[in-house]
């Protein structure tokens, strides 16, 4: 934990404290929003391969870098994961979409990095091990908003990967295909008459 954090967070998680941190969180996210505008594009690549639905190009690029560290399972493709996150976010509230964009800005923002971790390099320009250290700092932070911010990105990236069929062989997960085809074509299924008839068959 950085010295700044220890000043902001008391060792208690009382409700008042959490709410105060929530407000601090709002300010942090604003800082994040400005962060993406202040820094040049990363060298890391990670440009979108399809039109974006909820993120912008800069936020997408940071997300690709985050995804590369969060999901290291066999076959993980950070760009595909980031596109999955973008699609998932397109179903979320506009407020949530803008919070995630700001959060990614905060991850990238060197000023925030300096305040919390004394690092001046944007996230996308760090080495993999330094990126892991940055993630770790968010993950174990005493600030609720940093921990929940880490959790939001973690969950979005992981879910995006694991809903893809390509991740399933590793888990030996193979849901049936076409199970639903027959049911809906049965013209009677679900009607009270159908249930009654089935009950009779069962009872006999």
């Amino acid at each position: 934990m950085s010295s700044v954090e220890s000043k902001v967070a008391a060792p208690t998680t009382s409700r008042r404290r959490v709410l105060k941190l929530g407000l601090a969180g709002g300010a942090l996210l604003l800082l994040g929003g400005s962060g993406l505008a202040l820094y040049p594009p990363s060298r890391a690549g990670g440009a979108p391969t399809a039109p974006l639905l909820a993120l912008d190009g800069r936020a997408f690029q940071v997300l690709v870098a985050v995804a590369a560290r969060i999901v290291t399972a066999a076959g993980a493709d950070p760009v595909a994961i980031a596109h999955g996150v973008d699609r998932a976010l397109s179903y979320a509230l506009a407020e949530t979409q803008s919070d995630v964009r700001a959060l990614l800005g905060l991850f990238e923002n060197a000023l925030a990095g300096f305040v919390f971790d004394l690092r001046l390099t944007p996230f996308t320009r760090l080495s993999p091990s330094a990126q892991d250290a940055a993630l770790e700092s968010w993950r174990t932070s005493r600030l609720v908003v940093r921990r929940t911010g880490y959790q939001a990105l973690r969950k979005l990236c992981l879910a995006s990967f694991y809903v893809q069929e390509s991740s399933w062989p590793e888990l030996r997960y193979a849901p049936p295909s076409g199970l639903n085809a027959a049911a809906y074509d049965d013209p009677e299924i679900g009607t009270p008459e159908w249930i009654e008839a089935q009950n009779k068959v069962r009872g006999s």
């Binding site: 399972a73 397109s90 179903y91 929940t148 959790q151 694991y162 049911a183």
Partner: protein, 521 residues
């Protein structure tokens, strides 16, 4: 009755996303929300000869869309594309959004409201409008229509059987569950919409019943505001949404009616009332309860394959009543890779290792019973600047303390049923090899963002009761205390949580109250 397919294609079903012009409708009764509360009420009103218009924000998906794939279904069938959380992001909120409401995605566990809970409401929340005995014939009617039946022990999958066996071994109360299914293939995909129409959700029962009796349905239609004329609601206005429900089409709708039934579910119903300027002196949105959930994973030598079989089929209420402490009940949680990956701890290689163990992993959950203690007052729904709801719900010290206790009991039950290793779902998991270590669980970081907490049971926010100083609707017919043509019929009317999975409580109460309203003038 006409087939489900014919009903779905009928003239009474309007797709809001396909409307080229603003829509205006009129009915005796307008029902906002088509889930457990709204669908049951609609079928009763339509069959009693009233003209009914049902409004639903979500899509009209059917088993044809239920592909057993999370990617196809979760963003479409859940509120906010399954990204809803509480204000401080401490709790993930799973809540449905579709024709049929949350019943389309629920896990089919069916309990009547416990009698002692109704007693508590009578004594502590001035709920005098019905006796427990009044509910019984309505539960029975629902149980017949939804084919609710107790499952035999032999049908339990290993995920549920391990919970059952562990509790039995420890001498704890445990039982197999009643489920609202018929012809269930045990495919395990309840959570993504039943692919074979075996789940007797509102989508395949009360909604088609209502439509077959002449009700009309406008889906992809979000009710924004109830508008008053004098002491009554004159109309509801709202926004039509595109086919994916992601944005407004630019078209709107207006429904005039003699009576309005708000059935948007907890969180959403209070939000609609708040947007309409009906806050009942601050009562609307307060006392929202969540049955907050924590989980425990356990590794067994035997194969568990938690993705197979009925997701929920055993429960223990042994710890439901804990005096001054928060009670909880134990159940099993199903496993889908996307959902499970968000609950599994950490990231990178440790996370990938955890996921690979799935074939031998069981996950059991403890479901907290909130609302029965002064220091478990639930949360409050407020409005975002866009008008969307935002739930501020504090996890209080009493709740954290109950979670710690529950985590230990979950581990005990898992070891008792043969688990080799038990893991909490903390970001830094507590890993117990072979035996319970209470001190290790106590030492874990019990804070927001360090341990996943989720809710699938939202209740309260528009409580019923006979004292307008503490309730929003009266308990004899769920009518608003001051607006005589406005009712709230859904899970938001409960004055506390329930201590059991809520769907049948909502069906039964809706059946009773809609029958009373239909019989009144």
């Amino acid at each position: 009755m006409r087939s489900l397919k014919t009903i779905r294609a009928g003239a009474g079903v309007l797709d809001g996303s396909a409307q080229a012009a603003d829509v205006t409708l009129d009915a005796d009764i307008c029902i906002i929300g088509t889930g457990a509360g709204g669908a049951v009420a609609a079928s009763i009103f339509a069959r009693s000869g009233k003209t009914v218009v049902l409004l639903e924000e979500g899509g009209y998906y059917t088993s044809a869309d239920f592909t057993a794939r999370e990617r196809d279904t979760e963003p479409r069938l859940y509120q906010e594309g399954m990204t809803r959380t509480t204000k401080d992001a401490g709790i993930s909120v799973l809540q449905g959004k579709a024709v049929g409401g949350t019943t389309v995605v629920n896990w089919t566990t069916s309990f009547r409201t416990p009698e002692d809970v109704v007693d508590h409401w009578h004594k502590k929340h001035a709920v005098g409008g019905f006796a427990y005995a009044d509910l019984i014939p309505h539960y029975e009617a629902i149980e017949r229509r939804l084919a609710i039946a107790k499952v035999p022990y032999d049908s339990l999958n290993a995920n549920n059987r391990t919970l059952y066996d562990g509790c039995k071994k420890l001498g704890w109360e445990v039982d197999t569950l009643r489920r609202n299914v018929f012809g269930c293939l045990q495919s395990g995909f309840c959570h993504l919409g039943c692919p074979v129409n075996a789940k007797r959700s509102m989508l395949v029962t009360m909604i088609p019943d209502a439509l077959d009796a002449g009700a009309r349905l406008l889906f992809r239609a979000r009710a924004d505001k109830l508008e008053r004329a004098g002491g009554a609601i004159a109309r509801v206005r709202g926004t039509l949404l595109d086919a994916e429900g992601r944005s407004a089409t630019g078209k709107s709708f207006t429904v005039t009616a003699r009576r309005f039934i708000v059935s948007g579910g907890a969180i959403n119903s209070p939000a609609l009332l708040l947007r309409s300027g009906l806050d009942s002196g601050g009562l609307v949105g307060a006392r929202t309860f969540l049955h907050p959930v924590i989980g425990s994973s356990a590794l067994y030598d035997e194969p568990i394959e938690p993705q197979r079989g009925a997701p929920q089929s055993a429960a223990s209420h042994h710890f439901a009543h804990r005096g001054d402490e928060m009670g909880f009940f134990l159940e099993a949680a199903p496993w889908y890779p996307g959902l499970a990956s968000t609950a599994a701890p950490g990231y990178g290689s440790s996370h990938a290792d955890f996921m690979r163990q799935v074939a031998h992993t069981a996950t059991h959950i403890a479901i907290g019973i909130d609302g029965f203690h002064d220091d478990l007052p639930g949360g409050r729904v407020t409005l975002r600047s866009s008008g969307a709801p935002l739930l501020d719900y504090a996890i209080t010290p009493k709740m954290w303390s109950a979670f710690r206790f529950a985590q230990k009991r979950l581990a005990e039950a898992q070891f008792a049923s043969g688990a080799r290793k038990v893991m909490t779902l903390h970001e830094r998991p507590v890993v117990l090899e072979g035996k319970l270590d209470e001190a290790a669980i106590d030492a874990a970081r019990w804070e927001i963002g360090c341990v996943p907490v989720f809710t699938a049971h939202q209740m309260g926010g528009c409580p019923m009761g006979d004292d307008p100083a503490v309730s929003v609707v009266r308990s004899s017919d769920l009518r608003h205390h001051t607006i005589e043509n406005l009712h709230v019929i859904d899970g938001s009317v409960f004055p506390t949580s329930l201590g059991v999975n809520p769907q049948e409580s909502i069906y039964g109460l809706s059946h009773l109250m809609a029958s009373r309203i239909a019989a009144s003038k």
